[in-house]
């Protein structure tokens, strides 16, 4: 009789979990909406063509204040206590706690005229990461990096196409999953703070052999489970297990301890710093799409006594992201890596907050920044009025933004996938146009 604690025999609970995981993956991936049967008309082999473009999205959950980042208004009643500092672009100032991003402004595109409509964190986060309003389609829209993983998967066998660093403890919609694309395009989750996937054993021959033994056993159970069912239902589920095996064979992919002390120092002693360092490590090794969560929860949601804490989060962000840009440039990755720095919306010009002084949610005019991947550098797009209470020129919508991102990656933003005989474009209703200025 086999020892129930033997490493070669996994307990029943693991199989119970795998079935639950299957159902979970099915819900997240769209089985509940009719199955994967006619989902992908594309030839995936063709999609896996040579692709060296990368994306790192640093998501600033909570709605970062444009006044305390990229669009300061010092001296105005709405300006708050922060002052501004000059950037490397003549005449353009950023928040005083962004010295690195000010220095690197001539590398980036700064949009000061973002405008959107949904000021709810959950829904705003969903729109800002899927290009879809939550109610626009009957199936969950995928995260745009899942779309990218679908269109431009990792070329190196065994590497994940999309990795998510850090958890967002807010609502389930705030960090969209793979939606109708299915579990295969879901991000590989890492706990954050520079850690790799949770519970992944250290890569070794023993670990790989033990995994292979478990897979053999699990495979026999799965075979029995599939009997009489649609085999395609479990394909993506099987893929997840295959990916675990690939990760075991990927060696030190996630081991940031291999990085130099100099890098640890310049990225800063923070979870974000370590995650940005890991993000750089991943894209350098060939992982094409990485989402970095800046702190769990809604760290940028500064309703109450905002300005005491604002400077610390801005500083932490500036140190980590500034080092990331420098590092990408130093290593020759900048020309093919799109770096996106954004949250779900901005914050009010009024500073009454929900616990004074603070700023509430604001969608009318807000800011973000992106750069790299061959885009024009040192651009500031759009502006707000003197007090920051309204757009002055060049409104940019979420849909415009996603058209820009997809175009940067040579993905047609209005391409349609067939799901349940319905054509579903990557950007909702084929809205938006790319920002011509950046190309």
């Amino acid at each position: 009789m086999m020892d129930r604690h033997s490493p070669t025999c996994c307990p029943r609970s693991e199989h119970g979990l795998s079935r639950r995981a299957l159902l979970h993956g099915a819900l997240a991936g769209g089985i509940a909406f009719g199955g994967f049967g006619r989902l992908f008309a594309d030839d995936h082999a063709a999609a896996a063509k040579k692709n060296d473009q990368r994306v790192i999205l640093v998501f600033m959950s909570g709605g970062p204040s444009q006044f305390e980042t990229w669009d300061p208004k010092p001296g105005q009643p709405t300006g708050g206590p922060h002052i501004s500092i000059p950037t490397s672009i003549p005449g353009v100032h950023f928040d005083e706690y962004m010295p690195n991003l000010s220095r690197l402004a001539n590398r980036m595109v700064t949009v000061r005229s973002m405008t959107s409509r949904n000021g709810d964190h959950d829904q705003g986060g969903y729109i800002a990461q899927t290009a879809y309003n939550p109610s626009a389609v009957v199936v969950p829209a995928p995260h745009w990096l899942s779309v990218c993983a679908h269109e431009k998967p990792a070329t190196e066998p065994g590497l994940p196409s999309y990795v998510m660093l850090g958890r967002d403890n807010f609502g389930s919609m705030h960090v969209p999953g793979a939606g109708y694309l299915g579990a295969k395009y879901q991000a590989l989750h890492c706990a954050g703070g520079g850690a790799g996937p949770q519970d992944l054993p250290k890569p070794s021959e023993e670990a790989i052999a033990a995994f292979a033994r478990r897979e053999k056993l699990r495979g026999s159970f799965s075979e029995a489970f599939v009997a009489g069912r649609d085999k395609r239902l479990v394909e993506s589920h099987e893929g997840s297990f295959a990916q675990v095996g690939n990760l075991l064979r990927s060696g030190d992919l996630f081991d940031i301890q291999q990085e130099s002390q100099r890098d640890f120092d310049r990225y800063g002693n923070s979870q974000l710093g370590r995650d940005c360092l890991l993000a750089r490590r991943l894209v350098e090794r060939g992982v094409p799409f990485v989402r970095v969560q800046h702190q769990s929860g809604l760290a940028w949601d500064k309703h109450r006594r905002a300005f005491q804490s604002q400077r610390w989060i801005t500083s932490e962000f500036d140190t980590a992201v500034g080092a990331l840009i420098d590092d990408l440039v130093d290593r020759g990755l900048w020309s093919h890596t799109l770096l996106v720095l954004m949250g779900e919306f901005g914050r009010t010009p009024e500073i009454s907050g929900q616990g004074q002084p603070g700023r509430n949610h604001w969608t009318k005019c807000w800011s973000l920044s992106f750069g790299g991947c061959g885009l024009k550098e040192g651009l500031v797009i759009g502006s707000t009025n003197e007090n920051g209470t309204d757009l002055k020129d060049r409104p940019v919508t979420i849909h415009d933004l996603f058209c820009t991102f997809y175009k940067t990656l040579d993905i047609n933003p209005h391409k349609e996938l067939q799901f349940e005989n319905r054509p579903i474009p990557f950007v909702e209703d084929k809205l938006g146009t790319p920002l011509a200025e950046v190309f």
Binding site: P74, G75, P77, T78, G79, G80, P81, H82, I83, A299, R304, R305, F307, Q308, S309, R311, W312, I313, P349, E350, I351, S352, G353, G355, Q356, P357, N387, T389
Partner: protein
């Protein structure tokens, strides 16, 4: 000495607003002018609010009650004024702001002058606190650069730069006898400085800091300090507690669960503290004592403030700013709605 009594709100509310659309001017610090019936306050603005305590009540838009309406003076061009103080003889006002400057304004004709008498770049970061020494000859400032600086108050020449805090000092207080300056920091430390040598006398661990520091404002060490009229006791308010220390020994002698703000009466044994709810005590100084120790010598829970509790005052969430008048008879309490209320100690 025990001063029994109670705090009674006066009929006047002091209000300030400049009409700009940006929300109410949340009070941050308040000060009575020592020789004139004037009240000044910091109010999340680049200027200082100033009221005539005997001013006429006026109707104010969107407010039910009539108020004494103040002016906004001592303008910095950008940022907010974070710390200010009035010269002990009322000759000038000193302001320090997030624009990094320290400015001295001459007090003439019942108000600060329109232009600063002196102005210096004080810190490499926001000026968080400004305080005059009891003799008026010295100014101390605390900055976001973690330093505490000592200035000649006549010409704003820097005399010393003190280091010791791992994070910025949020508040400063001189003991009334002028012997010590105490700084309280975001790092949860209280540093007692000798005003002759400007050396550290002792460092007191207040706590209340966490590894995210200002990310969670309530958990960011020391917010406000006060020293008793006899220079014996130091009170420190943080996000979740108010501690009283014996300045001679540095020992904790009392603690209460009130937060963020604190003031000693300058003429007697009354202590007030608290943010949304202000509590006050007519304390018995002779009964301040360190916590008992268990059989292993470990200190037990700190004792409450000994003496008589006076009336509790609800002033609303997020309210800051409290100070007694120099005669100890009036208490000003700032609020988050652009007003300051005045209480009489009866």
């Amino acid at each position: 000495m025990i001063m029994p009594g109670n705090l009674t709100k006066t009929e006047k509310t002091y209000f300030v607003d400049d009409g700009a659309k940006r929300g109410p001017l949340t009070m941050f610090r308040v000060r009575f002018h020592p020789t004139e019936d004037k009240l000044l306050a910091l109010c999340v603005d680049r200027r200082v609010a100033c009221w005539d305590l005997n001013g006429e009540l006026q109707t104010v838009k969107n407010r039910k009650e009539k108020c004494v309406v103040g002016e906004l003076l001592c303008p910095h061009e950008i940022g907010w004024i974070r710390g200010f103080d009035i010269h002990p003889r009322g000759e000038s006002v000193a302001t320090g702001g997030s624009d990094r400057t320290l400015r001295l304004w001459r007090w003439t004709d019942g108000r600060p002058g329109d232009k600063p008498l002196q102005q210096v770049a004080a810190h490499d970061g926001w000026v968080e606190a400004v305080v005059f020494s009891p003799d008026g000859n010295t100014l101390a400032t605390a900055g976001a650069d973690r330093s505490v600086k000592i200035w000649s108050s006549s010409d704003l020449k820097q005399k010393h730069s003190l280091t010791g805090h791992a994070r910025y000092a949020a508040d400063l207080v001189f003991t009334p006898d002028g012997r010590f300056l105490i700084s309280g920091g975001e790092d949860g430390k209280l540093i007692v400085w000798d005003t002759q040598s400007w050396q550290t006398v002792r460092t007191i661990d207040f706590g209340g800091a966490n590894d995210q520091y200002g990310q969670i404002p309530r958990h960011s060490g020391v917010h406000r300090l006060a020293a008793s009229h006899d220079s014996r006791w130091l009170a420190a308010a943080g996000g979740e507690k108010l501690d009283v220390f014996d300045l001679a020994s540095g020992e904790l002698v009392a603690s209460e669960r009130v937060s963020m703000d604190v003031a000693f009466q300058p003429t007697g044994n009354v202590l007030v503290g608290g943010e949304s709810e202000v509590k006050s005590w007519s304390y018995q100084a002779e009964k301040f004592a360190p916590p008992e120790k268990d059989k292993n010598g470990k200190p037990q829970k700190a004792k409450s403030i000994p003496g008589e509790s006076l009336a509790a005052i609800k002033r609303g969430d997020w309210s800051l700013g409290m100070q007694f008048s120099s005669d100890g008879k009036r208490l000003a309490l700032g609020k988050a709605d652009g007003t300051v209320d005045l209480y009489e100690l009866t």
